[in-house]
Symmetry: C2
Subunit: 134 residues, 2 copies
DNA sequence: ATACAAATGCAACTTGGTTGCATCTAAAAA
DNA sequence: TTTTTAGATGCAACCAAGTTGCATTTGTAT
């Protein structure tokens, strides 16, 4: 069932449905928080090549299947869902204890007062603190 | 005059006043926007060793002379001023054209509604758009 | 069945950043 | 002023994240 949905998703986006992509997609579907490259590598140890993994993350991101999050740890993380668009931004919560990154879907983008001549189209917010599990 | 001020600053923070530190500090004083490692390396080509530069950036940051900015480009940038404290956060503006990073000093931190069990102590905001010069 | 584009694996590379260690220098003590 | 010493520097080696070129394989359209 979920598998059929994932196959459709890849079809829609014009991506070939390979074992690796279906496995990756399945993995993302099961998780509620963001994954770093090393998380994913650990989850698929000796199954997916480094460059293949990175290339698929890029493909998925371009297709709007996942979005890249920079949680200020220095390394990117990836979570299900398209990149936040103007008016649909969401904040990301980074737990300072367990380092888990959550998408805060109900985030409301704020109105900003910018100096003259500055124009904005994106606001990205990282909230740091302690999550419910810690 | 400025040089004397910089020397005092280093004294106050318990840092030895070396040629390199004074040059770095002077450089930061002249700039209005954030610098990446590679910006700084280019500005002091063959003058400051890689590890010395990084170590001084760390020292300056710990001393509250500069603060580190993560503009979601994947590489850190540094700008004059202490790290934003609770209640004194400021947003950072990243120009999508020239990639310049500006500190928006008059930013007012927002009140957040977080899910139950989540506690926050820091909110970091990156605003992306086009700057006044572009 | 075949043919082509796209996906994979591998190795080599780049860049940002760190670390250990020997040497040097600012600044305090004598 | 000279001596002492903690801290600063330079160098080389290292690590992790991420990218690229190329040969091979696989998915899909014909």
């Amino acid at each position: 069932m979920e598998n059929a949905n994932n196959e459709n998703l890849l079809n829609q986006k014009g991506l070939k449905k390979t074992k690796i992509r279906l496995a990756l997609l399945h993995h993302f579907m099961q998780l509620e928080h963001a994954q770093s490259y090393s998380d994913l590598q650990a989850a698929f140890v000796n199954e997916i090549d480094k460059s293949t993994l990175y290339r698929n993350l890029i493909s998925f991101e371009q297709a709007g299947i996942i979005h890249r999050i920079n949680d200020h740890s220095g390394t990117a993380k990836y979570a299900l869902g398209a990149a936040p668009q103007r008016g649909h931004e969401h904040a990301h919560f980074v737990c300072e204890n367990c380092e888990t990154v959550y998408c805060m879907e109900d985030w409301i983008p704020l109105e900003l007062k910018l100096p003259k001549g500055f124009k904005t189209n994106k606001v990205q917010t990282i909230v740091k603190g302690i999550c419910a599990k810690c």
